[in-house]
Amino acid sequence: MIDTRNLPFVAALVIFLVAYAACVLQFPNMLSTRVIGNLLTDNAFLGIAAVGMTFVILSGGIDLSIGSVIAFTSVFVAVMVGSLEVNPLIAFAAVLVISTAFGATMGLMIRFLAIPPFVVTLAGMFLARGAAYLISTESVPISHPIIDAIQGFYFRFPGGGRLTAMAMLMLLVFAVGAVVAGRTRFGANVYALGGNPQSAELMGVPVGRTTVGIYALSGFLSGLAGIAYTLYTSSGYSLATVGVELDAIAAVVIGGTLLTGGAGLVAGTFIGILIQGLIQTYIVFDGTLSSWWTKIVIGALLFAFIVLQRGIVWYSDRRLAEGRLKEA
């Protein structure tokens, strides 16, 4: 029997498979490893950021700073490597430390100043974007042997598709994220916080440590997503990735995570990313559709999923009430 908690995940999976099958019926070429490989690569940075967002939303919070942190990271790395000629690996490490500390600071403010996550991360969004402008307002191209090597690294699928380093990184992040969420005490605490912070505290969950950890994780993954984005575009640009946090939220919710927190799966977010990628791919194949259709379909799906989640909550409440009536 399927746990009602995971019904939205199953629904997302079914929708993806049905939609993919429909696409393939219309464009048989879409069933190729090439398409899948590109889909994974094109959405790698979004997927990595969405894993962080999954933890944040599972805990009942929100992180609006993701897009800005990605832009900051890409500009920071591009300037460090391109203009200052720092070793890319050092630049990567530095930017990950910065973004993690940035996320942790937001977590501290949310917990200890009791400011809603929406407000804190909104401030973080402006701050990170502003810092990116401060470093450079131009698009900074980068080129370095190490970066070229990473960009050139891939596995070839049968059929010509490529599993690039960025796609592998995303898959790794999803795998680790799923284990952390499902099999560690930290993960259990995240779900507990999302269920009911007061109860969680009364049950001995270290609420402060967990909150800081969640936003630090989101900051870290935003930094990592920024690195993936830099590799993907071979440049850093402070105007890039505006609104990526919203795409990430959409992927998380379409993947079946309850927007109010407490229920959902990291694997669901992966499906959410695949659905978004599939829509984009379909539009490319069709060739006549405006790319804004991506947004429209995502919007419609979001509505559908929020209604589905409400419906499940309502249904299980009612079933419980009926069960109690029968007992009485």
């Binding site: 560690t184 259990a188 605490n189 009911n196 049950m203 001995g204 969950v205 299980s316 069960g323």
Partner: protein, 506 residues
């Protein structure tokens, strides 16, 4: 040999902002004992519990557990020492499975990862000890409140193991479920655990407790073995009156009451799990008092009448026509007003000025499209500040800076401004000083003379005997008696409360 008591609290004192919440309270819990802690609102029960469970730290006094002094710094600390708590509602997480709830924060691990199979195995064997054979992988939300309560008890005992504190564990259970939880408690008692239980249901106190301790106004009234304590004595301990006291007899005159058919009638009004269906009719110029212990359904009755809770049975009629009162807005448009008990949370808007607070209900009735002009508001505020003698007489002062009595007057003014025909007052004199107390009672009498109908809920028996023309007595969420005229005495009210009700709690 164990000669010391399990838990001993001596001369516990605790103040909040100069108000003494607890004053020299002693409390002793033995091993293998179920000890009920009783008292009305504000008696200091929860403060005492919170000191024992580490939520608050005591100002004075000492607490010893197993003979050694303890000062739990927080809940986790108290748990470690052996004192576990189960709260009425918020104690477990509905979005997690039963097993996850039982072992949250202390999951067995293998290679650094949570060992789910082990969690399940331990959860199953733990619950088997409580005679609970449920699938531990199901979500907590799919289980009834009683099962959840037992799971919470299992977790608390497994975690702590010496003292179990239950804060109103049965408030939302039906009688079968209560019995289920009690069976678990009896078994734990027989295993030597000390159990402290807070409940408002006297039937349950007599069903489960070995001993009771009664607090009133932050002081210890007494601690007795339940076997030698008649119900009547327990109630008088709680309400703070001795039976032989000379009671102020019924004072309200019948003259104010309009003759003829009562224009406002509620028939068979009730809501499952809240208040058993009751009939109520009220005439202009009449004060109907509502008496009962805390948790007997007093406030629930008011919520039902004012449309905050929707009734699931019965009808309301005004002037002979049936009306549906499904929301406070509907109640207001039918000419009802309601001053709630929780003034701070439900009544005042602290940062609003006195005049804004007064204008609120009138504005709500007019609809937001027609805002009251600031001149109208000023006139309104002026009129009531003068007529009710609200002090300081400054309409622009944020209401949170006024004393409790003056806040209460402002809320009264809010409803009087709408010129209601029925005004429901829930504990209108709680937490206000003696002077304001008398003024509010005088005002109620005056409103009555002016032809308003009033329903006054109060735990002050003298108040009810002084002002009410009729008193409805509630017990275990049921209207058990109605007293009229000279029959309205404090003794009769207490007798009605004490009469064992036919059924257990609804």
């Amino acid at each position: 040999m164990e000669t010391t008591s399990l838990l001993e609290a001596r001369a516990i004192g605790k103040s909040f902002l100069g108000n003494k919440a607890l004053d020299g309270v002693d409390f002793t819990l033995e091993r293998g004992e179920i000890h009920a802690l009783l008292g009305e609102n504000g008696a200091g029960k929860s403060t005492l519990i919170k000191i024992l469970t580490g939520v608050y730290t005591r100002d004075t006094g000492s607490v010893t557990l197993d003979g050694s002094e303890i000062t739990p710094a927080n809940v986790a600390d108290a748990q470690q020492l052996g004192i576990g708590t189960v709260y009425q509602e918020v104690n477990l997480l509905e979005n997690l499975t039963v097993a996850e709830n039982l072992f949250l924060g202390r999951q067995p691990r293998r290679f650094g990862l949570v060992d789910r199979r082990e969690v399940r195995r331990r959860a199953r064997s733990l619950l088997q000890g409580y005679g609970l054979d449920i699938d531990v992988d199901t979500l907590l939300s799919s289980h009834s409140v009683a099962i959840r309560q037992i799971i919470a008890i299992a977790r608390a005992v497994d975690l702590s193991g010496k003292v179990l504190v239950l804060d109103e564990p049965t408030a939302s259970l039906d009688s079968q479920e209560v019995e289920m939880v009690f069976a678990v408690l009896r078994r734990l008692r027989n295993q030597g655990l000390g159990i402290i239980i807070i409940t408002h249901f006297l039937n349950q106190v007599y069903a489960i407790a070995d001993r009771v301790t009664v607090l009133r106004n932050g002081r210890l009234v007494g601690s007795r073995k339940i076997a030698d304590l008649p119900r009547m004595d327990l109630i008088s301990m709680m309400l703070g009156r001795e039976l032989q006291d000379i009671t102020r007899e019924h004072q309200a005159t019948e003259e104010t009451i309009a003759a003829g058919e009562a224009p406002i009638r509620f028939t068979g009004y009730g809501k499952r799990g809240s208040v058993t269906p009751f009939d109520l009719d009220i005439r202009p110029g009449e004060v109907v008092g509502v008496a009962g212990l805390l948790g007997s359904g007093r406030t629930e009755t008011a919520f039902l009448l004012f449309g905050i809770d929707r009734p699931d049975s019965g009808t309301a009629s005004i002037d002979g026509t049936d009306v549906r009162i499904a929301s406070p807005v509907a109640a207001i448009s039918n000419g009802f007003g309601f001053c709630p008990e929780e003034r701070k949370n439900d009544g005042i808007i602290g940062d609003f000025s006195v005049s804004d607070n007064i204008a609120l209900a009138l504005q709500a009735r007019q609809g937001w499209a027609k805002p009251l002009s600031s001149r109208q508001k000023a006139e309104l505020a002026d009129r009531f500040i003068r007529s009710l003698d609200i002090r300081p007489p400054d309409p622009d002062r944020p209401i949170k800076f006024l004393s409790g009595g003056n806040q209460q007057k402002a809320i009264l003014a809010r409803w009087l401004a709408t010129e209601p025909r029925l005004l429901i007052l829930d504990e209108p004199t709680r937490g206000i000083d003696i002077g304001a107390h008398a003024e509010i009672l005088k005002m109620i009498e005056q409103l009555c003379i002016d032809g308003m109908s009033l329903i006054v809920i109060s735990s002050e028996l003298e108040e009810l005997t002084a002002i009410a023309h009729r008193v409805i007595v509630l017990s275990d969420r049921r209207h058990v008696a109605e007293l009229k005229g000279d029959a309205i005495t404090a003794d009769n009210i207490m007798k009605a409360i004490a009469a064992p009700s036919q059924t257990e709690a609804a």
